[in-house]
Structure formats: C-alpha cells, structure tokens
C-alpha cells in the first residue's frame, strides 16, 4: 500500500516545468499550463524572470493567472506594453527571447507539435484553434520548453499536422534549415521529463516523477519511447512550491469565478 500523494499529477507537472526556468531568463509564455508554470517560477526561485505575452506586455507580473492572452492585469503589471507586431518583430525575431514556453495538442518523437487539426486538414475530425504565435516561437526562441499531459492520443507516431517545428526528422535538421533557435530542450508531462537525445534529437525519458514507472510512460506514448541509461527521480514538490501554486490558483479562481476551461491554451 502506498499512501495517497500529497500533490496531484497536474501539480508535479507544473512544478517540474517551473523548475526548468532560470532566474533572469526572458520567457515568451503561452496561456494555460505554460503561463501557470512560468508565474510559479517567478513567485518561487526566479523572481527576476521576464515574462513576455504575445499580446504585447513585456515583464508582466500578474497577481492572478490570466484567463486570456490579453488580460488587463498583464498590461497593468508589465514593465512596458508594446504592439503585437513589435513583440514578434523586435523581441522574438530580434533574438531577445531565451525560452519559448508552449503547450500542444499532439507531439511526435522529435518534439514537433500540432495545434491545428486532428484528421484531414480540409475535412477535419477535430478542428483545433490553430497556430497562434507557436510557429514563430518554435523557430526563433533561444530554446523551447513544452508542457502537456501525456497520453497515447497526444504523443503520437505521426502528427496529423505539423504546426510548429521541433527537431523535424531529427539529427542536425534544424541547423540544415538554419532555424535560429535551438528548438525543444525539454518536454514536461504529468508522468516524466524528456529531453532530446544529444545526437539523434529523439525524445528520451531522463526523469520520472515520484511513484511513476516506465511501463506507465510507455503505455502513454504512441511510439516506442526511449529511456536514458541513467534515469533520475523528479524531486517531490517542496511545501513552498505547493503552497505557492495552490495559493496562485486559489487567487485566480476567486478573481475569475470558477472558470477552468479545458483546452484553453493559446500560444
């Protein structure tokens, strides 16, 4: 018998993602999970992190999590608010973003992502919201961190649509296409942390969350997932991390009402 964990799988995913963001990093943030994790990082170990949202705020420090990418609290707490073209032209394409922090509906073994459509593009089974800023972030950010829940439906052998590129077909594909950024350096899920193999760029499990085994990860992946020779265990959340996250979510709920939109992410 194991005792019930004192935290949820969602919480460890968010906390593990937040830990990847270094203090002082300039971070281009998508709405939803990435925004939660980035703000958790800002409220814990990375007070000087600079959060950029595509609607225009630079250095946003929202007291509650934004529901939409253009919430007023982002503008009010930002160091400056610029226009959307300026965000993409001067700040992202200009090479001033260290980390792009994104979610996705589907991901493949080389961390390419789909946020456009499930099924055929012209006759879709499910029409998803689309690209948002993800293609440009995936190209131009210094590096990319992806965060999404793991399941065989999301981690697929072949994407229905490549919206934004990760490592394409692996190896030095990004360099051959002269993409400015390094591309995805980590994928954080509710089960584990994956990193691209240094040579092949195939996603490889390097860290399992506490009480998660390889079998669970393999079953939740649509391809034969690789495991690194040395796998570490994600340190359990500290009480400070957990309390800060829960407090943030509590404040958010109070501010917005009980709006917990599924699939709410914009990039």
């Amino acid at each position: 018998m194991t005792t019930a964990p004192a935290y949820s799988t969602n919480e460890i995913m968010t906390i593990a993602a937040a830990r990847l963001l270094k203090n002082g990093a300039v971070c281009f943030v998508g709405i939803g999970l990435p925004s939660t994790a980035a703000n958790l990082a800002r409220l814990t170990h990375a007070p000087d992190i600079v959060l950029i949202y595509e609607s225009g705020p630079i250095g946003a420090k929202p007291a509650v999590l934004p529901l939409s990418i253009g919430d007023g609290s982002l503008a009010e707490t930002a160091d400056t608010v610029v226009s959307t073209p300026e965000i993409f032209r001067y700040w992202l394409q200009g090479g001033r973003v260290d980390v792009g922090f994104l979610g996705a509906a589907q991901i493949d073994r080389f961390a390419n992502i789909n946020t456009t459509v499930i099924g055929d593009y012209r006759k879709p089974a499910t029409r998803l919201p689309g690209a948002g800023g993800a293609p440009e972030i995936a190209s131009c950010a210094g590096e990319v961190v992806l965060v999404l829940k793991q399941s065989a439906r999301a981690f697929v052998k072949k994407l229905d649509f490549v919206t934004s590129v990760g490592h394409l077909d692996g190896g030095d594909a990004r360099q051959r296409l002269r993409l400015p950024g390094e591309g995805p350096v980590a994928v954080v899920t509710d089960l584990c942390l994956m990193r691209p193999d240094p040579v092949t760029k195939e996603l490889t499990v390097t860290q399992l969350h506490p009480d998660i085994n390889r079998d669970q990860v393999a079953k939740a992946t649509g391809w034969e997932i690789r495991f690194a020779p040395q796998i570490s265990e994600t340190p359990a959340p500290t009480s400070i991390e957990l309390e800060t996250l829960r407090d943030l979510e509590r404040r958010t709920k109070l501010a917005h009402g009980n709006l917990t939109g599924a699939g709410a992410g914009s990039t």
Partner: protein
C-alpha cells in the same frame, strides 16, 4: 476626415457585401457593438480577417455574414472552441467557410506591410511547418543580400477596418491605450476605418507618444459606450469572463445559437437595447 455619426449610419455607409473587413482588438477593445450592427444589417459574403476570431467572429460566421476567414488563432480564449467557426469549417453550416490560416507573427507582419503600402511582408518562419502546404499565400523567398530563405506573405489592406477605442475628441481624433494589438496597423492599412469609442471629450489630453489616430485617417467615429463588451476597455470595464464561458453552451447548438442571435442582436435596435435584453436574459439565467 472623421465624421461623428451613429453606428447604424457608419455600417450602412461604409461596409459593403463582399468586402474584406478587419475588426481588430487583441482580447482587449474588441468592437462587439460594430460586429452586431453588421449582423443586424445582414451583410453577406464578407472576407473577415482577424488574428484571433474570438466570439465576435463566431457570431458573424454563425449568422452567415462570412464566406472566408483569414486568421491565426481560432479559439474561445480561456474556454475552448469557437463552435460556430468549427461548424462552418467541419460541416459547411450555415454556409461553407473558406479559411486562410497564418501564425500570429505572420499576420501581424502582414498588417504592418499593409500600413506601409508594401505588397508583402517578410519574416523568419514556417521552415518545416505544414501551414504553407495548405495556404498558398505563404511563399518562400531568398534574401537578395545573404541568400537566406525567408517566408513572405501578402500584405493585408482591408476595405474597412473597425476598432473600438477609449476616447475621441469632438473633431474625431482617437486615443487608445493598454494592450494595443494590431489596431493601429489595421487602421493604417485600410481604405476606410470606423472607430467606436467609450467617450467623446473636449480634449484628449494625450501624452507624448500616446497612441493617437488622427481624425484624417478615420472615416467615422461612433459613440458606443460599452461597445467592446464582453471584452474589456482598459480603464472603463473588465472582461466579462462569465459571458465567454456562457458562449460555449450558446454556440454549441445551432438552434440555441439562432435563437440567441435573433433575440439579442437581430431583433434589437442597437447596442443599448442589446445590453438591456442581455441583462434581462442573464438575470433569468437563460443566456
């Protein structure tokens, strides 16, 4: 030169069937009142362009005003899907909707090029992406100086751009602040521009570098307080998040949507009456 007029007159005079229309506002200052007036006046075959279609275009698409949508992110922010957009794309209801899909960086650049009166925008994007395979407006060109491959997209120059702003003065000069999105670029790119505002004042008291759109680039200014709701107007009112959530259930079902749009938009005289009817149906819990 800006004429200060009613919204009904402005839409009647300036928006034609078949026009390329941009209604911009990035979550903030979305011109909902103007969108409703376009539905009321039953404009057809519009090509709608907007970075984030949002609930405003979900309503226009569901009401059958659009034949084509140019966009870069089509969700209900903070909630999920835009069901009327999806129904049009997935099932051709109420009419088939052609889509032309971009990324945010690309579409915002296309407005900048439009404002600069250039034929196309250039950016570093789309290498390896499937988007260019399904959008023949995204091309690749070689930099004439370095040989680097870059993406090119045609500029956007709407027949009419419609935005909402905080203030105008009595001559029709417009001031907006907060999250500006691409509103200024969309106005400068357009042949005609309509601006709805929260207030008309004697003096804008604009600070240097403020985002002021001078009256001589605007066709009509209309006083429509609350005209961005359920989105928000910085300094005036907050986003009505509950409406965005409620929209999910309204828009999910064709009949529910049709009845909502008839009661709240088609059968109301103007935005003021819409707000009254909305308040009544909200208090009865049937919106």
């Amino acid at each position: 030169m800006a004429e200060i007029t009613t919204l009904r007159e402005a839409i009647a005079a300036l928006v034609r069937d078949g026009d390329l229309v941009a209604m911009e506002g990035f979550t903030h200052l979305i011109p909902f009142a103007a969108g409703h007036e376009v539905i009321r006046q039953q404009r057809k075959n519009l090509t709608l362009v907007r970075m984030t279609p949002d609930v405003i275009y979900d309503q226009l698409i569901g009401a059958g005003c659009a034949k084509k949508l140019i966009f870069s992110w089509g969700g209900n922010p903070g909630v999920g899907s835009l069901h009327r957009l999806r129904d049009a794309v997935e099932h051709d209801w109420p009419t088939p909707l052609e889509i032309q899909e971009h990324g945010h960086g690309d579409l915002s650049n296309a407005y900048v090029a439009g404002a600069a009166n250039l034929p196309f925008a250039v950016l570093r994007a789309y290498a390896g992406s499937d988007l260019p395979k399904h959008n023949d407006k995204i091309k690749f060109i070689q930099c004439p100086f370095t040989g680097e491959t870059l993406a090119a997209v045609p500029s956007i120059q709407p027949d009419v751009t419609i935005i909402h702003a905080q203030k105008a003065d009595r001559k029709g000069n417009v001031l907006l602040w907060g999250i500006l999105g691409v509103q200024k670029e969309a106005v400068l790119a357009a042949k005609k521009a309509i601006v709805t505002v929260e207030e008309i004042v004697d003096d804008l008291n604009a600070w240097p570098n403020a985002c002021v759109l001078p009256r001589w680039i605007i066709s009509a200014v209309c006083w429509v307080p609350g005209g961005a709701a359920p989105s928000y107007a910085h300094g005036y009112y907050e986003r009505d998040n509950r409406f965005y959530l409620a929209w999910d259930a309204i828009a999910k079902d064709r009949a529910t949507f049709q009845s909502w749009i008839k009661t709240h938009v088609i059968d109301t005289a103007d935005f003021e009456e819409y707000r009254r009817v909305l308040q009544e149906s909200t208090s009865q819990g049937v919106r």
